[in-house]
Amino acid sequence: MIYDEDITQQIRMCAACPKMCRHVCPTFLAWRSESPTPHGRALLLHQEITGTRPLDDRAIEVLYQCLECSHCLTWCLPEIDVADIVETRRRQLVEEGRFPSGLNPMVDSIRTHHNPYKEPHEKRTSWLKTPKNDGRSLVYFTGCTAAYRENGIAEDAVSVLSSLGYQVDIPKDEWCCGSPLLRTGFVEDALGQARHNVEILNGMDAEEIVVTCPGCYRVLTQDYPKHGLEINKPVRHIAELLQSHLKSLPEFEIEGPLTFHDGCHLGRHSGVYEQPREVIERVSKGALVEMERNRDNAMCCGNGAGLRTLFPEHAKKIGAERVRQAERTGAKYLVTSCPFCKNMLESQAKDRLIVLDLPELVEMAKKRSHVKTD
């Protein structure tokens, strides 16, 4: 039995819940069926536990349709974390060799190239230039998306951090943090990546590590320690770091309001809600407008936990809905603090909204402000 008594009871409760949180589940929105729902997933597991019905291939697929966004948890009075329950079963499914074959390319790519995008490892950060600076030393762990898909974020992060006086170092041989593997159940593979990262990070001479990707942030600060892997320096998300330098951040007149999308890994999974908002409010001189669904009630962008790999069209449907929610605020800019979210939201916003990641916004402010940063 992979679940303890307490979780087994939670699954039993959730299996027959009168669908109290279904209305916020993004995969219910994407499929409009009772199957990819929180209670649906719990019912499949409950039936498996009670011996009523084993998981068939379709049931496994339903478990892999979960974004692990934990939005359901926000609405669950008995605090049942379907995301965690699903991830536990995914781990077992991987051990049993019963995971969807659509994950193979992603897993193989990380095994071979240390990134999920099948990109050559040697090109990971070789292009990223860091200026010399005599300030406090800091390691920037770029993560795969900023390294291969959202280069602007990485460049702007380096630029903003340098302006704040940091000596930014990029690890020479950074590997995927393991987040895509962990979230889809490939723990052993993930730990292979993790051990390597811990070794190189611990060998670097710096005061702290900063990340721009909340997926990396969660894995480095929560999953690595859970698996006994300790990083010997503090790890901060760039939103936290920038917030600690609030007064030194540039300000500028932005044309039109901006709204903020909370990425699940940063918000619900790490509790970082206010820091990015304070940064946005500072640099935009108070131009932030909230979406109806914000903070722990924010909707996922649709990219999480393998959904985009396995069901790209449905993932995009979720992203498009999140963009609609942003448009409803009347904002001109949609700011997020996650390269992965940015990538999805930008693809769905087309030219209706300008989508920026937090370092990009701050860099924009820097370029357009006359205030000097120290």
């Binding site: 959730c14 669908k19 109290m20 949180c21 209305h23 069926s33 199957s35 019912l43 019905r53 068939d56």
Partner: protein, 479 residues
């Protein structure tokens, strides 16, 4: 009940035809999908799920995206005489969506769009599959409310609201769904599409719209509705009063309505329900019953309504609890529906018999039902809610915990049988808003008396092949 009816050849043939109608991605014959789509929120189904039992399954679940697709699906079903169970939000409490004779479950969740908001007439036209909360939030953005606030708002959809004649907690002021609906579009069993015009009142024969409201999928599939809108009230004010007994509280409610006051919320908790729902948070005397009131509207109107209501309550022995209990209930109104360790332990099962009666009978119905239900070792607690000028509803809530499944399900049935019998004997009606579905199907004939034959004849004409949700509402029951 678990026998699915279609042989594999017929099933394959029908599935192929349905695929042609809705597209391959909007139909499923996968057992996992069928299991997950089978049940609504009937407490007996929920208890059976927890106990590891399988529920009756459909052969095919289909998700049409338009009225035309619904029509084509029904034509195929009718031609092949295959049962069709419409599914709304799947949060009904009576087993209405259980496909007890197999066949097709026709799920409307993809039909989830607002068609039009008519600001001048204050109306919204909407597809039947739109979830209640999504619609409410959308009209809120335009400054309106539906005035329909059932606690299933997050899960149920417009079609389900209509099909079960549902009622929100503010039905005293805004009305139930039948009062809130002006026009309907319905697809009949033979696939024909009928529309009733959206007008405030008319004098062109019987109101055919009413025929389908509450028909629970037995007469056709509701695909679209035109609903009323209200400006969001300027103010909602709460007030609470405790009474030493049920009688004096009920008198106060009756007199408030008689004085021409229509609060939006009127909920009156008997001593057991007060102890359960209020005593943890407020200092209520043991044995007291709590009345929760709310008033909606412009401040002057609310001032007047509150003042008169408070006077009447005090004249009838009411002890003022301010806005606390009432406001707290409003803010936590969804909480009691979540599963808890206690309510889901072992073979526990509870349910609500939501009866309705006129004031002259209401108290008798309450006492008679309570006695009948408690005779089966059930814990019974009740609140009077959805009150009107001439009477109102009682939520007779019961809970029982038994050592094994067989005893639990049998006890559950006895409580229902005797509770409903007591209600009917004392002149009450067995449901105010939850509907009949499967849980009350066998009582329908007793409830409706001579008028049941009219319902049956209508059914015979509109659905001669008895394909529409057979076994529900006392109709189309197969021996």
């Amino acid at each position: 009940m678990n026998e699915r009816l279609l042989d594999s050849k017929t099933k394959t043939k029908i599935a192929k035809q349905l695929k042609g109608i809705v597209g391959v991605e909007h139909i499923t014959t996968q057992e996992t999908d069928i299991v997950l789509n089978a049940h609504d929120a009937w407490p007996l189904s929920e208890a059976k799920i927890r106990a590891g039992e399988m529920l009756p399954l459909a052969d095919i679940v289909v998700f049409p995206g338009s009225t035309e697709e619904v029509s084509e699906v029904l034509k195929v079903a009718n031609k092949n005489k295959v049962p069709v169970t419409p599914v709304g939000g799947g949060a009904g409490t009576c087993g209405g969506t259980l496909p007890i004779y197999g066949g097709i479950q026709l799920d409307l969740k993809r039909m989830d769009k607002v068609i039009n908001i008519d600001h001048k007439s204050m109306l919204v036209s909407v597809e039947a599959g739109m979830v209640g909360i999504d619609l409410e939030e959308e009209v809120n953005r335009h400054g309106y409310t539906l005035g329909h606030t059932p606690t299933s708002m997050r899960a149920s959809n417009v079609g389900g609201f209509l099909a079960t004649r549902s009622g929100g907690s503010m039905s005293s002021l805004y009305g139930k769904i039948e009062d809130l609906t002006l026009g309907l579009e319905v697809v009949l069993a033979d696939g024909s599409i009928v529309r009733t015009k959206a007008v405030p009142r008319h004098s062109v024969g019987p109101d055919l719209r009413e025929l389908f409201i509450g028909s629970e999928g037995t007469l056709g599939v509701i695909t679209e509705a035109t609903l009323r809108l209200f400006p969001i009230p300027e103010e909602r004010r709460f007030r609470s009063m405790a009474f030493a007994d049920v009688h004096s509280g009920l008198e106060a409610i009756r007199l408030i309505f008689r004085a021409g006051i229509t609060p939006s919320v009127v909920r009156f908790y008997d001593p057991e329900d007060t102890a359960m729902s209020m005593s943890q948070h407020f200092d209520v005397e043991e044995g007291d019953s709590m009345l929760l009131l709310a008033f909606d509207g412009a401040p002057e109107k609310v001032d007047h309504e509150e003042r008169v209501s408070v006077e009447i309550c005090k004249e009838n022995g009411g002890k003022d609890f301010g806005d606390g209990p009432s406001k707290r209930w409003w803010e936590h109104r969804y909480d009691m529906y979540y599963p808890t360790k206690f309510t889901t332990a072992g073979f526990s099962i509870g349910d609500t018999i939501d009866i309705v009666a006129t004031y002259d009978k209401l108290e008798n119905v309450y006492h008679a039902m309570k006695t009948a239900m408690e005779a089966h070792e059930a814990f019974v607690m009740s609140h009077f809610s959805h009150m009107y000028q001439n009477g109102g509803s009682i939520y007779m809530i019961f809970f029982t915990s038994q050592p094994d499944a067989e005893t639990a399900w049998a006890t559950y049935k006895k409580i229902w049988d005797d509770g409903v019998a007591a209600c009917l004997r004392e002149g009450g009606t067995m449901s105010h808003q939850h509907g009949v579905g499967l849980s009350r199907s066998t009582y329908t004939e007793d409830e409706l008396g001579s008028s049941f034959q009219v319902l049956k004849k209508i059914k015979d004409v509109l659905d001669p092949n008895e394909i529409m949700n057979p076994g529900k509402l006392g109709l189309g029951v197969q021996e």
